[in-house]
């Protein structure tokens, strides 16, 4: 980002290539359809471009990108009537049976479990577990204290676990977490 602010135009494309797929996942997990997610990814980077002169050398761009993205998602939800698009379609087929490429991101049950969370908890879980941000970074992105974020995370993880267990999801062998994004 510092390179882009200094006038290196191609640096912005690198940023896009690195972060756009993750943001798209974030939006889709947050309940948006693919085309809406694509639109919000574009808007996120367009706003990042406009905000470039607020960026200070030495800062990290990650909290910026996620903050802008979540602001846009909240705006979109407010405009759309506060309901994630996928919530309207509770009877949709399990992910494995659809042709939707976004469905491959999570299992049908995990998507449903995430949708069942209050927005504040869902945001924290999406950032902490799925995007790999620390509690301090999540706090910066959502505009809350780290303690408040930990409370939301605790409640969110507990609800997810309860939901998934009630849905009959079991641990099929050792979990494979090892596909880090960083």
């Amino acid at each position: 980002m510092a390179a882009y602010v200094a006038g290196n135009r191609p640096a912005f494309l690198s940023l896009f290539e690195r972060w756009a797929p993750r943001l798209r996942q974030l939006f889709v997990r947050g309940g948006l359809r693919g085309e809406d997610a694509d639109d919000l990814v574009q808007q996120t980077f367009f706003q990042l471009h406009r905000a470039r002169n607020d960026f200070r050398a030495g800062s990290t761009v990650r909290p910026w990108i996620y903050t802008i993205a979540l602001n846009l998602r909240r705006q979109f939800m407010r405009r759309a009537g506060r309901k994630p698009e996928h919530e309207l379609d509770e009877t949709s087929a399990p992910a494995a049976q659809t042709a939707d490429p976004d469905a491959a991101i999570d299992s049908h049950h995990v998507r449903a479990a995430l949708r069942s969370l209050p927005d504040a908890q869902r945001e924290v879980i999406m950032l902490h577990w799925f995007q790999g941000l620390s509690f301090r970074e999540v706090a910066e992105v959502v505009g809350a204290t780290p303690t408040a974020v930990k409370v939301r995370a605790h409640r969110g993880y507990a609800k997810l676990r309860a939901y998934l267990e009630a849905a009959g999801v079991t641990v099929g062998g050792a979990p494979s977490y090892g596909q880090g994004e960083e």
Partner: protein, 256 residues
């Protein structure tokens, strides 16, 4: 051991049976809940996600040129300073060129109170309108805008203490159209200025409300500094109606 280390280990498939980890999980309910839920959440598959095209973004950035784009790209402190100067210019101009004739007779405390209340509304609304995009936005703008409307309507409809000062006496509508036009004309520069200076001024959404609150506040302030008429009918028809145009524009802008 810290929570971040636990998270990194869990996401990286590390050993969670070490004494340090176990000790941390006993003490930290959040990490314990995360570890308990993690196997059920399954593997993350970042490679499976589709990547949006960069071409539309490149086109949007290329077309984001001109004077408005240059103003929007200024740093937030600079945009807020320019916004404050723009907002202050209107009342200063009115006080200099068209001051109300009863200024000297107006009760000092009430004068200060009314000015301060309107300035608080204008400053808060402008501050939010020109916020940096990389700070969390939880939609509080709507409440600030609502508070701004209440304050502006109450102050704009407050009758003068001594209505004999009024050049129009108790005639309800005399001079009201002029005050409406004058106040609206004074509100428009603020509306335009804040929209141009706001980073996302072309797509403000709900924050169009704070732009409306700020510009309506400036319009009401300008009329207050200009017109001494205290008749109820005049105040409601000529002063309070100054809020109309900014809010109509905001309603239109919110839909984008």
């Amino acid at each position: 051991m810290e929570c971040d280390e636990i998270q990194t280990r869990a996401r990286g498939g590390g050993d969670l049976r070490e004494p340090g980890v176990v000790q941390h999980l006993r003490a930290c309910e959040t990490c314990a809940a995360m570890i308990a839920a993690a196997p059920l959440l399954g593997a993350r598959t970042p490679g499976a996600a589709a990547s949006p095209s960069a071409s539309a973004l490149a086109t949007a950035i290329a077309s984001d040129g001109g004077a408005a784009a240059a103003l929007r790209s200024w740093s937030t402190p600079l945009r807020r300073t320019v916004g404050a100067a723009l907002v202050l210019a209107v009342p200063v101009l009115v006080m200099t060129l068209w001051p109300r004739p009863d200024h000297a007779a107006y009760p000092v405390l009430r004068w200060i109170f009314e000015l301060a209340a309107l300035f608080v509304v204008i400053a808060a609304a402008s501050w939010i309108a020109l916020r940096p995009l990389h700070r969390p936005d939880h939609g509080g703008a709507r409440w600030v805008a609502l508070f701004g409307v209440l304050v502006t309507v109450v102050l704009a409809s407050l009758p003068a203490i001594d209505s004999s000062i009024s050049p129009h006496g108790t005639d309800a509508l005399s001079g009201a159209p002029w005050c409406f036009v004058f106040g609206t004309a004074c509100a428009v520069p603020t509306w335009l200025g804040l929209r141009v200076l706001a980073r996302d001024g072309d797509r403000l959404g709900m924050r169009a409300d704070v732009v409306a609150a700020a510009s309506a506040g400036v319009g009401a302030l300008a009329v207050f500094l200009h017109c001494p008429t205290g008749a109820h009918g005049h105040l409601w028809a000529g002063h309070v109606t100054v809020l109309a145009l900014p809010w109509l524009l905001a309603l239109r802008l919110r839909r984008r």
